[in-house]
Symmetry: C2
Subunit: 136 residues, 2 copies
DNA sequence: AAGAATTCCTACTATTTTAGTAGGGATTAA
DNA sequence: TTAATCCCTACTAAAATAGTAGGAATTCTT
């Protein structure tokens, strides 16, 4: 499974966006300073967030980003997936007949990892961006 | 967070050990063949499992490994930790005052990752080696 | 006693992934 | 016109992963 800085940063930045909303767009420079994340790295991340319709951008001076939807409608899973972090503990291709052992049956732990996947995904599906303020 | 082949193999091998118990010890060669895992890699993994008192070894011809405790008493978390897979989604040191942003307060997502940790650890604590047979 | 099977242990290495950096172009407000 | 900003791609250093390799020690079998 993957859960790395990129995913963490994405969630952090989205949370920042949500909690510092001030009407107009918020620049990445601001977020970079507040959250201590490299600007160039943030740019990469926001490209993906934008392509996944989680934020809307305005270019030029005073430009920046705003949430595309209310924070109550953005699930953590949306963010995580947007930046290509896969919650994937299975070693095999899920819809293949072959197992990770390259045999024709699934390995003895297949169902276990599958359940773990569901467990983690469930968590990400349940938590909304809005909830982060409460958690924090 | 880390959850890689090493951890998967460890669980697989332990499950193999549990389900193919035949009184005497089981050699890694057998497991290697059944589960399609490189023998040398298995050896490394079993060193750790042994150091963590999850298996007992006997050397020499006809040697091999047996579970140190009944499968019903071995938690998945025991196995995962034994091979150094950390369920660690936090980016900062948990008991430090500093945050992952290197500031003096914890970041806005800290509690979130902390909860996710608990969520995943809870899963590993709950599932016993014995349950794998049922799952599989 | 010899040989084979096995665990034990450490060191090395190729590959992949991660975490950025770098550089330049396009757009817009002032 | 200039500065601030987003946009986009390519590159790169460092770390982690997934093994390989090699040999020593032990024990069973013959
Ligand atoms: S994880 Fe799917 S077959 Fe092993
Ligand atoms: S994860 Fe702990 S401070 Fe950010």
């Amino acid at each position: 499974m993957k859960l790395t800085n990129k995913g963490r940063y994405a969630v952090m930045a989205m949370a920042d966006l949500a909690s510092n909303a001030k009407g107009g767009p918020i620049s990445l420079t601001e977020i970079s300073l507040r959250q201590n994340i490299s600007l160039a790295y943030l740019e990469q991340i926001f490209l993906k967030l934008k392509n996944n319709k989680l934020v809307r951008s305005s270019r030029g001076a005073n430009g920046g980003y705003v949430l595309e939807k209310p924070a109550s409608e953005i699930k953590l899973s949306n963010i995580i997936y947007a930046v290509d972090e896969e919650v994937k503990t299975l070693n095999c291709k899920k819809n293949s007949k072959r197992g990770c052992n390259n045999k024709s049956t699934k390995c003895i732990t297949h169902n276990l990892w599958d359940q773990l996947d569901q467990h983690i995904i469930g968590f990400f599906e349940k938590v909304k961006l809005q909830d982060l303020a409460k958690l924090g």
